[in-house]
Amino acid sequence: MSQIHSPIADAWTPAQLQAVIDAHRLMPGAMLPTLHAIQDRFGYIPDAAVPMIAEALRHTRAEVHGIISFYHHFRTHPPGRNVIQICRAEACQSVGSRQLEAHARQRLGIDYHQTTPDHEYTLEPVYCLGNCACGPSVRVNDDVMGRMTPEQFDELTDELSATVVEVK
């Protein structure tokens, strides 16, 4: 089985944030690459990054906030150890994704955009993963899985819960 990379990463320090920002500031259209790099590294975009990005890329803080909130991908809170995305789009609906969504919410005890109290799981909606001939589709961190039934979802979460956190 392919390795599951957990998106949760190190806690950040201002110096680390600044280093990531500096590494991208000279790119044309640096904003999205910068935000991606921060989220990839730290799992989310900490509030403290906003004034630093604003300063580096000559924007107002309000503009940076506006950009972060425009894009569904960017998070401003630390996610759980596993981010589970369930495809809500039409092709998956046609093969039962609505039931899968309901099952996942109930099983994890959280709604979309929430994280379980033990920080194991964050649940997010997604609109198509490009696996539309073999849905319902689910993405766990960077792995896409197809033909997901509620039973398989339970097996998956059992397996994930049993995985020991990898120390980097």
């Binding site: 044309p28 789009a89 039409e90 609505r98 609109y127 073999c134």
Partner: protein
């Protein structure tokens, strides 16, 4: 000599366990002291057979599928590695599989055959021939060849590609850009992904040709963040192409330059709209720009820019290699060449079907698709993504072409065909169309931003039996306001699925179906 075994590595094959299949094959062969060489090829796009394992033989490749990890041992026992064909999963020669054999693969001629990142595999199958011919021509001749092909944009709007290129070509020299729209947001579509994951040099070659034709030295691929595997494969392929001299400052010793970079989107459907995409590439919120100016004149960073879909650009190498007329010889009416149809949703045999324009939907859904996956009767099909109408059976005999579809209010769009069986409640689908628009609207204009939210509320009231008659009238008017008053096709077309439900499946949108839709918070 080692036996060559192919195990695909595209997202769908992996989603169905291809990595575990490969591991078990390796283990099984080792246990029997058989020397095998596993190649991780792309997918042929026959998703109903994935993971599709192939064995190289002197007669050609023999296929087995769909192979789950737990089938591997029994397959090896039944002589998989000796290419025996006794196992129930044996499919014979891959090239002879009916679903594949009946296709006309011009753009997708290589997918699933090659190792996606091997330049050698690519060039063995005519890769970079189109680029070489381009380098020998002047830029106007290249634009003319694309015009001759009759190619129209595959991203949705079907605008003639050659004319777009001409506009950018004719702008005064200076900084120009080629931007590939790889946002592929439509549900039911995966053809862009297949190009990027299974034949990435095809896109690189197509973009380089575009750059040479219009005088642009910088290209960006705007890729949706939902495609991490395509991202990794593209980055790898670009790096190798630079190293091999197909990209960079001196393409194949011609002294001409083209540079290419992948930029990630961030989960916003509207960023597939070309002006929103450009805003996003510039680092802003993806607010749609009013046109004019056209991106071809004032595009990225205010400079002339070609924005083309992955499939439009991926059609170019064939056109330059085989000639625009050869491409134009396929198709019907003003829809020339081939269309990548993507059979998705509740379908028995889902996958990619590349055919000349003109095949009927019924032939696609039944002849290729084999009907529904559930085995229940087909009820509706949504063609052209979330902004496309739901088509009832009376419209399934229409041939797929741009003008023909437009005539009855259909949308070919990016070629996604999403099938639904009779268990679907079309009221749910109408509600979702409005909900999706409310989640994904860029917010710039009122009919779309507010209209979509109202649309969900009104549909909920109708279904709850709350002044249903009055609210049905309101819904009809709301749809018209959105269609007429929205700045872009997001708000302008989001009502299409709703209107099609009102027209063709009215029983599903009445108080008799008085179940609350059970919406979700987004």
């Amino acid at each position: 000599m080692a036996i060559t075994v192919y195990v695909p590595r595209d997202t769908t094959a992996l989603a169905l366990g291809a990595d575990r299949v490969a591991t078990r094959l390796e283990r099984g062969a080792r246990a029997r002291n058989i020397d095998i060489n596993i190649v991780r090829n792309g997918s042929r796009g026959l998703f109903y057979l994935e993971p599709l394992v192939e064995i190289e033989t002197p007669e050609g490749r023999l296929a087995y599928g769909p192979v789950t990890p737990k089938d591997v041992d029994s397959l090896i026992e039944a002589g998989l590695l000796e290419a025996r064909q006794d196992h129930p999963l044996a499919l014979g020669l891959t090239e002879e599989i009916d679903y594949l054999k009946r296709q006309q693969r011009l753009t997708f001629s290589r997918i699933g055959i090659t190792d996606p990142v091997s330049i050698e595999d690519y060039t063995t199958l005519r890769g970079f021939e189109g680029l070489k011919k381009t380098l020998a021509l002047d830029s106007q001749a290249v634009v003319d060849e694309v015009k001759t092909s009759g190619l129209r944009g595959r991203g949705g709007a079907a605008f003639p590609t050659g004319i777009k290129w001409q506009t950018v070509h004719d702008q005064p020299p200076g900084q120009k850009y080629v931007v590939c729209n790889a946002d592929e947001g439509d549900s039911g579509t995966f053809a862009d992904r297949l190009v990027m994951e299974c034949d990435p040099y095809l896109l690189i070659e197509g973009m380089t040709i575009a750059g040479l034709a219009v005088g642009a030295e910088q290209g960006y691929i705007y890729l949706r963040s939902e495609y991490p595997l395509a991202h990794a494969i593209l980055d790898n392929a670009i790096e190798r192409a630079v190293a091999a001299g197909y990209l960079g400052d001196n393409i194949l010793g011609s002294d001409r330059a083209f540079h290419l970079e992948v930029r990630l989107g961030a989960g916003a459907y509207i960023c597939g709209e070309e002006t929103s995409l450009l805003e996003s590439l510039e680092g802003k919120r993806g607010l749609v720009r009013a046109k004019p100016p056209l991106p071809a004149i004032e595009g990225l960073f205010g400079r002339p820019t070609v924005v083309n879909n992955v499939l439009s650009l991926a059609a170019i190498p064939f056109i330059m290699d085989q000639g625009g007329q050869t491409y134009a010889d396929y198709g019907m009416g003003r829809s020339r060449g081939t269309l990548a149809i993507q059979l998705a949703g509740n379908v028995q045999r889902g996958g990619l079907v590349e055919l000349a324009f003109g095949t009927s939907l019924r032939e696609l859904m039944e002849g290729f698709g084999g009907g529904t996956h559930s085995g229940r009767p087909l009820k509706a099909v949504q063609v052209g993504g979330p902004l496309g109408a739901y088509l009832p059976e009376s419209q399934w005999d229409n041939p797929v072409d741009y003008e023909g579809f437009a005539a009855f209010g259909g949308v070919v769009g990016h070629g996604g065909v999403v099938m639904f069986d009779d268990s679907i409640d079309m009221g749910d689908q109408a509600r979702f169309a409005m909900e999706f628009c409310s989640v994904e609207s860029c917010g710039k204009c009122t009919p779309c931003r507010i209209g979509a939210v109202r649309g969900v509320e009104v549909i909920d009231r109708i279904r709850a039996g709350d002044a249903a008659e009055k609210n049905l009238v309101l819904l009809t008017e709301l749809c018209e306001t959105m269609v007429d008053g929205s700045l872009c096709a997001m708000g302008g077309m989001a009502p299409f699925p709703v209107q099609s439900v009102l027209q063709h499946f009215p029983d599903d949108l009445t108080p008799r179906q008085a179940v609350m839709a059970g919406g979700t918070t987004c």
